[in-house]
Amino acid sequence: MSGEAFSLPAASIGGFIQDPSNANPNPKPNANPAKKKRNLPGTPDPDAEVIALSPKTLMATNRFICEICKKGFQRDQNLQLHRRGHNLPWKLRQRTNKEVRKKVYICPEKTCVHHDPSRALGDLTGIKKHFSRKHGEKKWKCEKCSKKYAVQSDWKAHSKTCGTREYKCDCGTLFSRKDSFITHRAFCDALAEESARLTSVAATSLNFRNDTVNLPHGFAGRGVQDVAGIPQFGSGFPQDFSGMPAPGLPEMVQMAPANLFGSSSHFPGFENGGATSSNSNNLSLSQLPQGLKEEGRNEGNLMESLSSLYSDNQNKQSKANASPMSATALLQKAAQMGSTRSNPSFFGNSFGVMSSSSSHTAPTFMASSSASMSATSNKLDKLMLQTGGKPSEPSLLSMHHPGSNTFAQSLTRDFLGMSNDQSPRPFLPQELAKYAAIGSTMGLSQFTSSNH
């Protein structure tokens, strides 16, 4: 293996050296320490010999190869001992008794800080590990927490402590380090208090004002009077929310007019006439799983943040002030509302149970599999059937028409139990009240606030 190592006196590079002479090494401040003192990393000895190795050499594990059997060794000494077995001439190099120049190594990666000789690292193993860690591929993965490492020793060290010592906050977040745990708790305590206080508030309000409280209008009102902690989440949420659907809009628009498909240069996998298709296989194999995984991870993170949000603020629909919900999300929500209602009045009761079911719907919020899609369509079916089964529903809806004639007519109709009613309407007064409640919150917020 060609060692593309070349050594240069540190003096001629970087130019930070005060005394350029090599012949007379400057006496070190503590000349003969009992124990070798360790410099700060990246602050090498001024007159040390700088060695720049190529990445290949750096990463090579077995540089010394036996000619006979091609067995590789990390050290020349080991190779020599091995050669004895083949009855080959061997020679163990003695440690030179001349003054050995200290060697420091620089990182071959040009963009790296340690590429500069003035920030060279003092140890060959050190530079190897650094190169792997920073510029290498992370091949080692912890089984417990899926953290990845490029250097095996790092991985081993981590897996020893992974999961052993953990701090857990009340909000459920885990920490392995005490300092980060404490920092978090400082914030979290505040939030914990808020949620405790609010739950008690919300509980009372839920009991008394089933229908008026949990509409988004109501939320907006409550959000204002509530704690600063909540808007924090509220503002955090829209970012997450819109994170998935619309991340790279500018880029997306750019490609819209371009004839991507036709121009061979842009088209993946068909560049170079597909001659490299087999090569591009290998490339894409490594690229794609990351890409796909990233999408999954993004979604996973999004879901985690969503579920933590929901678990923190059980009754907060603080996304009322977020970007508009996607249509699919709205449909799911409508289906949930339709399935959780106990009596057929659509808006009245279901808004009341909306908040309590919201924490259940959170996991299915953004990422609904096709199973849940069919589930929701079933629920929507139920919704549909229930509304279908009660054709007087829309007449109740038309109560929203302030047109007094229609209102009077529908009321009359329903009181008398006429029209295409198939079932008796014993709960009409309740529904009326509920619709009234909706009307009050929806359209007449001044009354709502006065009711608080």
């Binding site: 988004p216 500018p250 997306m252 001659a275 794609l288 279908g388 054709p391």
Partner: protein, 474 residues
């Protein structure tokens, strides 16, 4: 008139409702409607749509009219996603109601000028703005290249030939084959002659560049009127078929006729098999060999409003005969891309619900992918999706061409018709993934299911791609 004594902690809001004192006419937008936030409005719209569809299905046109009116106050083709969806669904429901007065309907539709160039333009927009067609083409081409390994004469039939990029892509891949490109013939189908002329020019020009012996045969016709003879398939050539979002139009059937037939009381096995014979025109022996009894369940979904049982296929005579004829050509590969939705249920409510879910995902996807080209997006929404929605909701019988079925049903149909599955390779999936990545398409996913690929938007499957080949009866 208004009941009282309701236990509310708040003072009874009833007296605050100035329903009685407001009396604007029915036509004016109500102030409180404007105060609705986007989410509430969206939910309200969904509810309105569902209840209006119920009325339309039940035939109570008065109530449906009120519903349409309410929806049109809230819906808008320029509003947010749910508003736009509601606008198109509203229009579709209105068309459906209009058909109750055939004279009105015909008179209103008679002076429509359908601009062919606009339709073609919209198809191109859909190709450019969304990755679905590109993905379908990539995967199709990959499957073709793999299936045609070693073949010297390749004949490809394209059921909707309008985008030259689809095949130019294939030229490049074929050119790079180790054994060199095959002799390639492409037969393109389309309803417009101009489109095929354009294709012919572009493709011949590109084929010369890539040094591929090439021949293009245009066939101007509709898929359902296709005479397979006109495809001029020669013996000895390897045949591949690419069907992107076309095959479902063959599922049209005269629903009325079949509804009536299915409701016949006794369902012995021979009766069933007879019915199958009539409906699908396959040999009895072959049908009895398999056990597709479960496929034609006596409780057909045609009449009852219950959700479709997963394995019951709606009968489709046209599809049956078409597939039989196609099979007779012994194709080496058929790649079918279809919408992953279940619109062929014959009750209106089922179709409305399914379409709501499907098009909601499509609209969301379009919104997120193309939010800065609103005019183009509107065109695609109106002329492509809107027309599909209209067809699904307003049309019945043979007019209803947009009969989407889910992958599992396509699999069933094709297997029954004598085709064997060709699993789509991992390489194809990778290429599709790379396309998504390089062009920064976010939110899309490609899932593999049983050798078929499904393109999803945010976990909602939207399009399915499957590959088939001629399978000899064993």
């Amino acid at each position: 008139m208004v009941p009282e004594g309701q236990s509310f902690v708040t003072s009874s809001p009833l007296q605050f409702i100035p329903w009685m004192s407001f009396s604007p006419g029915l036509g004016s937008p109500f102030p409180w409607l404007r105060e609705l936030k986007s989410e509430e409005r969206g939910l309200y719209l969904i509810h309105l749509l569902v209840s209006c569809a119920n009325h339309v299905a039940a035939g109570s046109l008065e109530n449906a009219n009120i519903g349409l009116e309410q929806i049109s106050h809230l819906a808008s083709t320029d509003g947010d996603t749910m508003q736009r969806i509601a606008a198109y669904f509203n229009e579709a429901l209105a068309y459906r109601m209009l058909k109750a007065w055939p004279g009105l309907y015909k008179a209103l539709n008679s002076t429509k000028i359908s601009l062919v160039s606009e339709e073609i333009h919209v198809q191109k927009l859909f190709f450019e703005l969304c990755p679905f067609l590109k993905l379908a083409y990539v995967i199709t081409n990959q499957a073709i290249v793999e299936a045609m390994e070693g073949e010297k004469m390749v004949h490809i039939i394209d059921f909707n030939c309008f985008e030259p990029a689809q095949w130019i892509n294939l030229f490049q891949t074929f050119n790079a084959r180790p054994e060199g490109p095959p002799h390639l013939r492409i037969t393109g189908l389309h309803e417009q002659k101009e489109v095929l002329d354009h294709m012919a020019r572009r493709l011949t020009e590109e084929a010369q560049k890539w040094d591929i012996p090439f021949q293009f045969n245009p066939v101007v016709c509709k898929l359902e009127n296709l005479d397979l003879e006109s495809l001029r398939v020669k013996t000895g050539e390897a045949l591949a078929v690419s069907s992107v979002l076309q095959l479902h139009s063959l599922l049209v059937t005269d629903d009325e006729m079949h509804k009536w037939k299915v409701n016949s009381p006794s369902m012995s096995k021979t009766d069933r098999s007879h019915r199958v014979l009539q409906m699908n025109q396959r040999t009895l022996g072959e049908w009895l060999k398999k056990e597709p009894v479960h496929a034609y369940s006596p409780s057909s979904d045609l009449a009852s409003p219950s959700p479709l049982s997963p394995l019951s296929l709606a009968p489709a005579p046209k599809m049956g005969s078409f597939l039989t004829a196609l099979r007779a050509l012994s194709p080496k590969l058929i790649v079918i891309t279809e919408q992953e939705s279940n619109n062929s249920g014959s009750t209106l409510m089922e179709r409305v619900m399914e379409a709501l879910n499907f098009y909601a995902a499509l609209f969301d996807c379009l919104e997120s992918t193309v939010s800065r080209a609103p005019l183009e997006r509107k065109k695609v929404e109106k002329m492509l999706f809107g027309e599909e929605i209209k067809n699904i909701i307003a049309c019945e019988g043979v007019e209803r061409k947009e009969r989407h079925e889910k992958l599992e049903k396509w699999i069933l149909r094709l297997e029954l018709a004598g085709f064997g599955r060709v699993p789509l390779s991992y390489h194809g999936m990778l290429q599709a993934g790379r396309l998504l990545q390089t062009n920064n398409y976010d939110g899309y996913k490609i899932k593999e299911e049983n050798g078929c690929l499904v393109i999803c938007w945010q976990e909602r499957p939207l399009y399915s791609i499957s590959a088939w080949r001629f399978r000899p009866y064993d």
